[in-house]
């Protein structure tokens, strides 16, 4: 009887060994996406520095900077899309979605006012910088590829 028990236990252990699995709660870290996020952060910073070069707020018409706004929006939408298609990625998707929302707010306000104040330039830069930081950290702390291998 004891021998039978040992065989059953050994069988179970061997099965467990060969069907070994890993817990997976997140997708792999994506370094190309990390680079894209960094690049988008630079684009945002560069756009606001350009706008700030124009010292008269009334001269900072939306049309002058529309290309820059749209280029950033394209990158943010692309980051959102790349996050959406990954499994187990709801948190990063929500962060990317918030980035798109925040950017749309700033773009729409500049469009509606057709000018932008020094205060808004300062605030938009800081808020977007911190939002980009969220996207970057969200990607950085995902497991490396080899951590998710079976």
């Amino acid at each position: 009887m004891k021998k039978l028990k040992n065989i059953a236990l050994a069988g179970t252990l061997i099965c467990l060994l060969f069907t070994s699995c890993k817990v997976r709660l997140l997708p792999d870290r994506d370094t190309s996406l990390q680079n894209q996020i960094e690049f988008t952060g630079k684009m945002i910073d560069s756009l606001y520095l350009n706008i700030a070069e124009e010292t008269v707020a009334e001269e900072r018409t939306y049309k002058k900077y529309a290309k820059g706004y749209n280029a950033v929006e394209v990158e943010l939408n692309s980051i959102l899309l790349k996050n959406k298609v990954k499994a187990l990625n709801k948190d990063a998707e929500k962060i990317a979605e918030n980035s798109v929302t925040l950017w749309s707010r700033y773009k729409s306000k500049h469009q509606a006012d057709n000018r932008i104040s020094n205060a808004d330039i300062k605030l938009n830069r800081v808020f977007m910088r911190d939002q980009v930081l969220n996207m970057l950290l969200g990607e950085k702390y995902k497991p490396e590829e080899n951590e998710n291998e079976n």
Binding site: V23, A92, N98, S117, N134
Partner: protein, 107 residues
């Protein structure tokens, strides 16, 4: 056959503990950074409002932006937590697998 389930469970618990202990300082430093950034943003908002560079409506609208940032920060922390939980669970499974491999080799 040498497979002491109590020793294995204790080993798995230690693997979880060590893994989480490694991840905690990182999570703490990110949390601190978020708090510092929030403080800097709120100080900037207060300064601009006091200097009349923004209106009350602007301030309210910026607080709406703050909500989005807070939501993003919570999701970032969730990612860090999930990554830590994943590493801890896999460390425990790794310990179990090693114990099984040793027991099977002894057969």
């Amino acid at each position: 056959m040498d497979f002491n389930i109590n020793e294995v469970l204790a080993g798995m618990a230690n693997a979880v503990k060590d893994s989480l202990a490694e991840d905690w300082p990182e999570a703490k430093s990110v949390l601190n950074r978020f708090l510092q950034n929030r403080r800097a943003r709120l100080e900037l908002l207060a300064e601009l409002r006091l200097n009349n560079e923004i209106t009350n409506d602007d301030l309210i609208s910026r607080l709406e932006d703050e909500k989005l940032l807070l939501d993003s920060e919570l999701h970032t922390i969730a990612i860090i937590g999930k990554a830590a939980a994943q590493r801890a669970a896999n460390a425990a499974i790794g310990f179990l697998e090693d114990a099984i491999a040793v027991a099977v080799r002894a057969l």
